[in-house]
């Protein structure tokens, strides 16, 4: 508790010498443990950018959202605090935060961020702050899917031309996509549609991240998937891979938040990293990797699963959607 108090005090400090103090202390800490559900090159780019700026190496641990929650709570149970900073869709921060594992922090970047993109904003501090928006839609290999078969709506996924050609990411990405079907069609019709989709189109379930499914699409191993992130496709297209992405409304929007651990072993480095991710340097890295800013308003309908939900409800949702996915696709 004493340690946690120390982090909280440090994290809310707003004095003029904050930057110098943080940098000096972070140098002494010399390390940073970052847990994230981001995938692909952007992770290394963010970590390298931070290292270049402050000379502090970042130890990244990448996992799915529920994997991160499991880790964080298990580690807390064992009294073993590993992560300094968490970056994941808001529900992760909500659940981990409700377990009292996060500390409110001040960061200069918070001032420009709408309050609804912060967790528990209080004065100039918050327990979480959004840094990016990732959008889940239909990604496909243009050499394997003819233009005529590209869906415009969720219902179009039933097109017989797509039968046997679709894969789903068997992770939170897939679960959220299945939930978006219910969101659009209503609970019972949505469930019925998913069962029909599973039976008729026989999608393969890849027990890997959306990024890894995208790699299979780019390689041509998998023709298409409705559980693909827009940013990965745009990165791939920029490198001349034969890939394209289209939105299927309502497009699931993962709004990634950064959080600081209440007992962070390297709180100074953690705060610097949060400043960096919220600030122009980190945002530029994200933008260069084709990520949407959390404030962006796309020209299609999006759905943020955490909107209007509490941490406990988020946990319930995650369990329910995992169950929904498994009932239909295993």
């Amino acid at each position: 508790m004493a340690l946690s108090g120390r982090v909280a005090e440090l994290a809310s400090y707003q004095g003029a010498n904050r930057q110098q103090q943080l940098e000096a202390a972070a140098k002494k800490e010399g390390a940073l443990n970052w847990y994230t559900s981001l995938a692909g090159e952007v992770v290394d780019n963010l970590a390298n950018g931070f290292k270049q700026k402050y000379g502090i190496p970042v130890d990244v641990f990448r996992a799915t959202e529920d994997g991160l929650i499991t880790r964080a709570t298990q580690e807390a149970e064992a009294g073993k605090q590993v992560f300094d900073v968490l970056e994941s869709p808001a529900s992760t921060g909500e659940i981990v935060g409700d377990a009292k594992l996060l500390a409110p922090f001040y960061s200069p970047g918070l001032a420009n961020l709408p309050k609804e993109l912060q967790r528990h904003p209080q004065g100039a501090t918050a327990e979480g702050a959004a840094i990016r928006m990732t959008l889940i839609g239909f990604g496909y290999n243009t050499t394997l899917i003819p233009e005529s078969a590209v869906p415009k709506t969720l219902e179009d996924l039933m097109n017989p031309a797509l039968s046997g050609k679709l894969s789903l990411a068997g992770t939170n990405t897939g679960y959220r996509w299945a939930a978006s079907v219910l969101k659009k069609m209503g609970d019972d019709p949505g469930k019925k549609w998913l069962a029909g989709f599973s039976a008729q189109q026989k999608p393969q379930v890849q027990q890997v991240s959306g990024k890894a499914v995208f790699d299979l699409i780019a390689k041509g191993e998998v023709p298409a998937s409705p559980t693909i992130f827009r940013d990965h496709v745009e990165q791939g297209a920029a490198q001349k891979a034969p890939v394209r992405w289209v939105p299927l409304e309502p497009v699931v929007a993962n709004i990634g938040q950064v959080n600081l651990a209440g007992k962070a072993p390297h709180p100074n480095a953690g705060l610097l990293f949060i400043d960096y991710a919220l600030g122009p340097d980190g945002q530029k890295v994200l933008k260069d990797s084709f990520y949407a800013l959390p404030t962006e308003k796309p020209n299609f309908q999006i759905w943020v699963p955490e909107d209007g939900r509490t941490g406990a409800q988020d946990e319930q949702d995650m369990n329910n959607w995992a169950q929904l996915f498994k009932t239909n696709f295993r």
Binding site: A76, V82, G220
Partner: protein, 574 residues
């Protein structure tokens, strides 16, 4: 004469009391240690499986609900069916290929014998996860290298073999067992008395008849025991079912344990633990069968005092076919590694641009480098601990006077029934809520590996000690040495060849282990296999291949070095 023996006996009698006491103390101590290693995971697993709804701050209620839910689930029959089919299939593939290799090299004049020995040793060292990923590159249904080759050669739109199907899983897992079957059966072929075969030939049997009626029958017990061991290992297999089975919805018990861990955001351990107990009970039955079979084996004595050299069959023109077969099987074992190395130089999969960038990325990643160091450290410490405990246990079994030593043997062998994933689960639950601060460190993995691999250490140390006559130790005692001195200065040095082999074996399997590690690693304690799995599931395919190539180079180098030492020792011993 009488005057000479009398004082010696007296000296012995006088010494007997303190010697016996040391023996008993050592027995009691080592039994306690082994109990402390083996029993807690079993108890934890049983207890957790009947505590439903337990979690952080919740005690849970005593209930058999998890078991009934498992059995009532509609997928249960399919799950058991898959588990059996996969284990049986892969052990037959392993037995067929490994058995043929053993017969060709030991009993015929087929070429490439040295290559087979070296290849068996080396291919064993390459982590299964790495080879599994290599096979995806080779046999991916649309872009796998072999499938593309097949399509372009035969102008067909079909596949040679789709890697994400049960037949492919069986074939690939089967190839993993070739070295083990080979090493088990070649020993048995080598020590077979050829006079029986000669008698058959003298009585007018053809070569085929002789092989079928005599050779195969003689080697049958060894084959049965290899088959059972492979079957057990097949039930416990993890990498292939996880990476190849799960995407195509082919679940087996081990993957079910792993996946049911992730069914809820905050894990509920009862259901996975119940699966674990089922797996545990099932394997216990298999091991019991195995011990019955191997007990019978000793009745078919093949090693006798009679000096002989097994007859080598002249294959004639068949030598070329045998040579081709041997080469093919060796190549199959290394093909996925070669494919990984090739892929590691590609800029991205599917592109033809060459680069060394993947290596720069891998070598520059602190977490990846950390996983290498962790694995080497964990493997060395585990191997050393296993060898020490196994040596003492073996000594108690062979030299000890305590009537309970049979029990010690069974206790030490008990972890054989733990699948890695089940042991990982038990150790995780045990230490997550324990005041012993090992969770999140590499020591929790050392604990798991010492538990898991203790039986293997004993299998090396026990026969090693049986071969050593007790006189040397007795003369040590006669000269006034204490138990510890005798053990350290006489027993250990004499046992070194067996212990070294045990050390190498445990070191190599610890280095490649994934299933227990998958549940026990954290961001700060990654090992090679978990890092590979993470890179794979996160979609860092290029890094997977570069890291895989580095790991292959490392484990192959280590295996070759160990192979040379073992061979030199073997030569010296003979």
């Amino acid at each position: 004469m009488a005057t000479l023996t009398l004082p010696r006996q007296r000296v012995r009698e006088r010494l007997k009391l303190p010697t016996l006491r040391a023996d008993q103390v050592v027995f009691a101590l080592i039994t306690l240690i082994v109990l402390g290693i083996v029993v807690p995971p079993v108890v934890t697993l049983l207890r957790t499986s009947v505590l439903v709804g337990a979690g952080p701050g919740r005690a849970g209620t005593l209930s058999l609900e998890s078991y009934s839910a498992i059995v009532r689930a509609p997928e249960f029959a399919g799950l058991m069916g898959n588990t059996f089919l996969f284990a049986l299939g892969s052990c037959f593939v392993g037995l067929l290929l490994g058995g043929c290799m053993a017969w060709f090299t030991e009993r015929t004049n087929a070429p490439f014998k040295q290559l087979v020995y070296a290849a068996s040793f080396v291919s064993f060292a390459v982590p299964g996860i790495l080879r599994t990923v290599g096979w995806i590159f080779l046999l991916g249904p649309r872009t796998g290298t072999l499938n593309e080759l097949f399509r372009s050669v035969f102008h067909s739109d079909r596949v040679l073999l789709d890697v994400f199907t049960m037949p492919a899983m069986i074939a690939i897992e089967g190839t993993f067992w070739i070295p083990v079957v080979f090493l088990m059966l070649s020993a048995s072929f080598r020590s077979m008395d050829p006079s029986l075969e000669e008698a058959a030939i003298m009585s007018g049997s053809s070569t085929v008849q002789t092989v079928r009626r005599v050779t195969l029958r003689l080697v049958l017990p060894a084959m049965l025991s290899a088959l059972l061991l492979m079957f057990i290992r097949g039930i416990q297999a993890f990498e292939v079912p996880l990476v190849l089975g799960v995407p195509s919805k082919i679940y087996v018990l081990t993957t079910e344990v792993f996946i049911s861990m992730q069914a809820r955001v905050i894990p509920e351990y009862s259901r996975p633990a119940a699966y674990g107990v089922l797996l545990f009970a099932f394997l216990l039955a298999c091991i019991y069968a195995y011990s019955r079979v191997t007990r019978r084996t000793s009745r078919f004595v093949t090693v006798t005092g009679k000096g002989f050299r097994p007859r080598q069959l002249d294959l004639g023109r068949g030598r070329i076919i045998a040579g081709a077969f041997i080469l093919l099987v060796v190549i199959i074992q290394f093909l996925p590694v070669i494919e990984l190395v090739a892929a590691s130089f590609l800029r991205s999969l599917g592109s033809m641009q060459l680069t060394t960038g993947n290596y720069t990325l891998v070598l520059g990643s602190p977490a990846i480098m950390q996983s290498l160091i962790n694995s080497l450290l964990i493997a060395s410490v585990s191997a050393t601990a296993v060898v020490i405990i196994a040596a003492v246990v073996a000594w108690c079994m062979v030299r000890g006077q305590t009537p309970m030593r049979g029990l010690l043997d069974q206790l030490t062998s008990l972890p054989l029934v733990f699948s890695g994933v089940v042991l990982g689960l038990a150790v995780l639950i045990l230490y997550v809520r324990s005041p012993v601060p090992v969770y999140g460190t590499i020591w929790i993995l050392v604990i798991a590996y010492v538990t898991a691999f203790l039986p293997y250490g004993l299998r090396y140390a026990h026969p090693g000690l049986l071969q050593i006559a007790p006189e040397l130790e007795e003369s040590g005692q006669m000269s006034g040495a204490r138990w510890a001195q005798v053990f350290r200065k006489i027993v250990i040095p004499l046992l070194i060849p067996a212990l070294f082999a045990a050390w190498v074996f445990v070191f190599l399997i610890s280095l490649r282990e994934l299933s227990a590690a998958a549940l026990l690693y954290t961001a700060q304690s990654p090992v090679i296999a978990t890092k590979m799995l993470d890179l794979w599931t996160n979609g860092n395919v290029n890094q997977v291949s570069a890291f895989g190539a580095i790991v292959s180079a490392l484990s192959i180098t280590l295996a070759i070095a160990a192979y040379r030492v073992v061979r030199r020792q073997g030569l010296r011993a003979s």
